[in-house]
Symmetry: C3
Subunit: 261 residues, 3 copies
């Protein structure tokens, strides 16, 4: 059973034709495949944001999807290009930690380094756009049913680069965490997992304010800060019909504190 | 005859993977369906802008399209989720007025509240992302040919929430209206309908300036403000090769006046 | 053999539903065709940027693709609408120079002015949105196999409007060029072609700084300006993990100088 979809996630933006070029390379090899665009507006070169975003989407796509994920600040250096098989599909990416979040959910069954130039678009790739010259082509061939072993030399899944994510810290009164992602609405998604706090009573302290636990965005008046479980399974701080990031002046990596009550 | 397309309109933005997640849910249920992305950059929580934009697209899509429209500031509250059948297709949305513009063009034949959890993705949906857990799944099942009656309890189409749009006012010298939408070019689209002013002579007064009636953007020199009939059928104020919104310092809801001459 | 894809490039943005409307018009005529979105965020009315971006993508899409390219500041004026056949596919656009870059790569075999209203969506098109009322419909009919001759009156390919691009200048010490495109990463793409400088030794002088020639973005430390051959075949100035445009305070059209060493 072949994959029916290629899901793309990059930091290429949509303005410059880079994504269209990638899709063109795919269409040349596999004219029928469905493409699902997860995001192309990952903050430039932010591998951690890409890892987070990819892992959030991952549970909701069809089984056997090929994921093509490219945020690649070290393109052209000696970092490896890789393809990974999991129980749920295939992943094609630079080996820079971008797959950290997904592989926590779904461990690698097999991994190869993309050394077989036969499946590249250009045997002499440009030194700045491996997305076009290597990764897109490899993903399209996987979607065509080419076995992963043909794409290159087998590597130990344990050797894949992992991001070191900021850890949460248990204190006498609660949990210290940090903001790991800010979405388009200005919602602040922390690194405190839902399973640690579900069914318990708590509030959040940020600087000198205390923010109450609620069930949904509209539980408090418009403009009120609130804390809840995000749809992706983390403690989230938001504002009903507003931007928590702007209003609370908080950014990526900032510290927050949960207090048991 | 089944629908061939699902058309999506949201305020999710394209950065965070929310749209890709929605499309993943659809692809799990209906791997072949074509998706048409109308907009995902509706200003956050702006239900009126969503209603306007959806109604503008509506005349141009294939008959029997399923429209999945989600701008949902009250997600998780008691506002209803609905599916509506018209003579031209199906609409799936929160019941918050988002369908006002479309239903003016094409009245509801049948409406249901989305109470049948069998067609939800998650019988226990998250309280913040019904787009993923309810609406996308329901839209995909409709596109698969599931009859609308199976999706939940029938409701009176007259009970659907309608937006109260700003009305135009007829004066002794013309018409007072307001700006109901600003597009990416900074074009100001008013709430004065084309049919009221077509074939007549008029100008527009804004603050102390008078703006002339023309046929198209390039009728006047670059940088000149002008007034014409928009492609969506409203009085529009624009600037040849410029942004009327910035140059004239006008924003959503601001008043404008048409004067008969 | 019919085209399998329509590739779209516009300055419509993704917020206002204009692209979705275009895709709706196409889907009404050709429900099965694949659409590839190259860019919809060309800077408003910037025909030169559109020409550059289209030409970059052009080498990577399937043969016999129909390209629908619309950046159209003179919409509604007497500028012509055109369809052009090349050895690699079809081009549909306003005749304003937008096709300059593509036609340099792949000369016109045949060209017509879009005068046959039978293939328009609206025989009386709006004066501001020919993309919807003429171009999208014509592109979809071409993709359906309608011969280009049926779309209107044959015209001399030499009569198609061409952009006058800024030329490079050879000096006693090197080459004077200018910046022809800035991408989302802030990379500065000049008008000095790769073939003029490949395999030679040079540096770049901008204002009072000298920028070294390297192979790839990560060849120097993060934050260092560098010069290399872009993936699209031009001299490019970039900064490892940063924006050259912001850091060097350079913009579209600014002069740069390459010095042989």
């Amino acid at each position: 059973m072949f994959p029916h979809s290629i899901a793309l996630l990059t930091d290429f933006g949509l303005a410059d034709g880079y994504v269209g070029t990638i899709e063109g390379v795919i269409a040349c090899i596999n004219p029928q495949i469905r493409t699902i665009h997860l995001s192309h507006d990952i903050p430039p070169q932010n591998v951690a944001a890409a890892s987070f975003c990819l892992a959030n989407c991952y549970d909701y796509l069809p089984s056997r999807t090929v994921y093509l994920a490219i945020v690649d600040p070290e393109v052209g250096s000696s970092r490896r290009g890789i393809a990974v098989e999991t129980d749920r599909g295939y992943l094609v990416a630079p080996d820079n930690g971008l797959l950290t979040g997904v592989l926590q959910k779904s461990p690698a069954i097999e991994a190869v380094e993309l050394t077989n130039r036969e499946y590249w678009r250009a045997p002499q790739p440009s030194s700045t756009f491996h997305g076009r010259d290597i990764f897109a082509s490899v993903a399209a061939h996987l979607a065509n049913g080419i076995p992963i072993e043909l794409l290159g030399q087998s590597i130990d899944p344990d050797s894949l680069k992992k991001l070191e994510l900021q850890k949460i810290e248990t204190t006498t009164t609660g949990i210290k965490g940090s903001i790991q992602y800010i979405d388009r609405f200005g919602n602040l998604i922390t690194n405190i997992p839902a399973k640690t706090i579900e069914g318990k009573s708590w509030c959040v302290r940020i600087k000198d304010s205390v923010i109450s636990q609620v069930d949904t965005y509209s539980s408090l008046d418009r403009g009120s800060p609130l804390a809840l479980i995000s749809s992706s399974g983390w403690l989230e701080i938001a504002i009903n019909s507003g931007s928590a990031s702007s209003s609370l002046d908080l950014s990526w990596g900032d510290t927050i504190e949960l207090i048991w009550i």
